[in-house]
């Protein structure tokens, strides 16, 4: 039924996209040499690509609809990973495998690979931090990178001027970033969601521009170099072992972060965040201090960004403002959105996919940002709950028995 009509529609849509992308995709001018290149092949790719994408989208939409009609049972919609996590044995096996891989990773792979993995793990922590703000409390923070920058520059400057080491600055960086979070959060957290997003974006850019222009303070665009790597009770490492040490440090930080975030979201505070995300007015009417609750989420998120900033400065031994653009915030946001807002496992997957994939598929790396943009749109349109939708703890309470918690 209607196949012909569908085909016709598909053709029309591809023609529309050929027209739409014509000037940018097909024509390439060189204004200096005054030459024009007509890249007609691109128009053809566009037509064929759009045609297929159109049918792919139709297919998925239909499948989604069918699924909605046929089964609504919860078991079916549970994602694969959650089914594993729910079974105690399978869960322990999975954790065991992950642990073994994580521990022996640097032994088997090159320093370069280890370094890439360390970066991915840093994004896991950044994602988990932003996840508190966006995923749990529902505050869209587009200036998350500002707190990352604050942490990085805290370490860079304290190390440069006072020779302070990594471990001393790690908590300081986190606390200073959290303080910035509170200072910014105080006036802006009463704003409506979309205004909050824009204000935080503005704040992020202000921090970056100040770092760029205030040369006396931050050494401007050229940045600060020769920052000390993380030490271990005064032991100095060779470059090679330092990379491995940093990796294990990151693994530890990821574990601590997962532990803390997990406990936070299953607490009185975590429930308040989720309630706030669901309905602010009802939340206040239930006696929850909106301002305070948001502020705590915001500054906790900032705290993690600050810690990771210190880590970043220590790992790369160099910071400059170019590392802290809006796109960085967008990448972290993509991780949270792709993984599934509010879901810890989701953020883990999101970060590993988004950071490792372009690393290993070299050909893809130039399409990286294009993909981030597309992911944000597609996720919102097709799967707003993310790859791994968040399943929170269900509180079960049986009379006369103590409460049992199941995940």
């Amino acid at each position: 039924m209607g196949l012909l009509k569908e085909l016709k529609k598909g053709v029309l849509i591809s023609l529309w996209f050929v027209f739409l992308t014509f000037p940018v995709m097909v024509i390439k001018v060189d204004p200096i040499a005054r030459t024009v290149v007509w890249r007609w092949a691109n128009a053809l790719y566009m037509a064929v690509g759009t045609f297929f994408i159109y049918f792919l989208v139709q297919f998925f939409l239909r499948k989604k609809e069918n699924r909605k009609e046929t089964n609504d049972s919860k078991e079916q919609t549970l994602s694969f990973i959650h089914r594993i996590l729910q079974d105690r044995l399978q869960r322990n096996i999975l954790i065991g495998v992950v642990a073994v891989v994580a521990v022996f990773f640097p032994q088997f792979l090159s320093a370069y690979q280890t370094n890439v993995m360390t970066t991915a793990l840093m994004y896991v922590v950044l994602g988990l931090g932003l996840n508190i703000v966006v995923g749990l409390a529902g505050l869209l923070d587009l200036g998350f990178v500002a707190f990352y920058a604050v942490g990085a520059y805290t370490y860079a400057l304290l190390n440069l001027h006072f020779g302070l080491g990594f471990w001393a600055v790690l908590p300081i960086g986190g606390l200073i970033a959290a303080t910035f979070g509170i200072l910014l959060g105080f006036p802006v957290l009463r704003l409506r969601g979309d205004y909050l997003a824009i204000v935080t974006l503005g704040f992020g850019e202000i921090i970056r521009l100040i770092l760029e222009n205030w040369g006396q303070f931050s050494k401007g665009p050229s940045g600060i170099s020769n920052i000390s790597r993380p030490g271990f009770f005064g032991i100095e490492f060779s470059l090679q072992s330092s990379i491995i040490y940093t990796y294990y440090l990151m693994v530890l930080l990821v574990l601590v972060t997962i532990f803390v975030v997990n406990r936070l979201q299953d607490s009185r505070l975590g429930r308040a965040w989720i309630a706030l995300r669901e309905d602010e007015i009802a939340c206040q009417a239930m006696g929850i201090d909106k301002r305070k609750t948001k502020l705590v989420a915001f500054s906790l998120g900032a705290f993690w960004a600050g810690i990771m900033g210190v880590m970043f400065a220590a790992k790369t031994t160099f910071v400059n403002p170019a590392s802290f653009t809006f796109l960085e915030s967008a990448i972290i946001l993509s991780i949270v959105v792709l993984g599934g807002m509010g879901s810890i496992v989701g953020v883990l997957f999101g970060a590993l996919i988004l950071i490792l994939m372009p690393e290993y598929l070299r050909a893809l790396s130039q399409y990286r940002m294009l993909a981030f943009g597309a992911i944000l749109v597609c996720m919102m349109v097709f799967r707003p709950q993310g790859l791994i939708s968040n399943i929170r703890r269900t509180y079960t309470f049986k009379k006369k028995t103590t409460s049992s918690l199941c995940r």
């Binding site: 739409l20 000037p23 503005g202 796109l327 130039q366």
Partner: protein
């Protein structure tokens, strides 16, 4: 005194261009309550289309007047098509989603479009052809007001008058005003809301394209990233004037343009962008309803 007048005109020129972009933000916000984050990219694509078409035509030796007209039309047509398509792809499916979903989608769209142009064209700054000649009659005051400034001001005024006419007197304009006041009511009285939303995106994008064409010929170069900053500034202007209000967008843009011009002229140009961002943050904190916007009490 000459310096003052020079700054005044450069401020008005800037302001006019912000206004052309800010109108798109404000109109879309007025109708569907969305901060169309990708609007800056629409403007960038307008500028790029104009650049490509104008350069091709000039290579093939078309006369200047034909180049201006064809490039202008092409910029408007393509930008509007992009605006229309983006709404259909990224916002329409999310019309009943939680408020932040379309905003995230818009941010994604903005990043996507930037990189699409970057990959399909180049990341370099490209010299934009001179489309506006120096008029002989401007000779005596050319050191204060350039011919380009004059063209920008005149074009903006004409566009504003046309827009006012459309909104006040045409059927689609009336439907737009009705929809922005109460969408449910508008549907009930038989207004096709989808068409109104599409029209809003088309008109807003067309205006941004004119802005893109004008500023590109004013500054003389473009690249894929110009939409981000221009977009933020125009958004600042729209919020300053009161988002959702059309006269507000124009007023806010002129104020922002003039302040920037005088601040860079008399103080320093280092912190020009810091200044714009700070202004944005401060307005949103202290007067989120803007100069001409109405503060609303959320009904419970």
């Amino acid at each position: 005194m000459d310096y003052f007048i020079e700054l005044l005109f450069s401020g008005l020129t800037r302001g006019s261009i912000y206004a052309l972009i800010a109108l798109g933000y404000t109109m879309v916000y007025g109708i569907i309550g969305l901060i169309n984050f990708a609007h800056g990219e629409i403007y960038m694509i307008g500028a790029f289309t104009a650049f490509i078409v104008a350069t091709v035509l000039s290579i093939y030796g078309f006369p200047l007047i034909a180049i201006v007209i064809i490039a202008g039309i092409a910029a408007v047509v393509w930008s509007s098509s992009y605006g229309y398509t983006i709404e259909k792809i990224a916002y329409k499916p999310l019309r009943h989603a939680p408020r932040l979903s379309p905003l995230i989608s818009a941010i994604g769209m903005s990043i996507f479009l930037q990189n699409y142009v970057l990959l399909a064209q180049t990341s370099d700054f490209l010299p934009f052809p001179r489309l506006i000649p120096d008029f002989p009659f401007m000779e005596p005051i050319a050191h204060i007001v350039g011919s380009t400034d004059l063209v920008i001001l005149v074009t903006t005024v004409i566009v504003m008058v046309a827009l006012t006419f459309i909104i006040k007197f045409t059927l689609i304009g009336k439907a737009m005003r009705a929809t922005s006041q109460d969408r449910t009511m508008a549907t009930l009285v038989g207004i096709n809301v989808n068409r109104v939303i599409s029209a809003t995106f088309i008109i807003g994008s067309g205006l941004a394209a004119i802005g893109g064409l004008l500023i590109a010929s004013h500054i003389g170069q473009i690249n894929f990233y110009i939409g981000f900053l221009a977009g933020i500034k125009a958004f600042t202007a729209a919020v300053l004037g009161g988002i959702g209000s059309i006269p507000g967008a124009v007023l806010g843009s002129l104020i922002l343009g003039l302040t920037e011009s005088f601040a860079t002229g008399y103080v320093s140009s280092d912190y020009e962008d810091v200044f714009a961002f700070s202004l944005l943050v401060l307005i949103l904190i202290f007067k989120p309803s803007g100069l001409l916007g109405k503060a609303t009490n959320q009904k419970v």
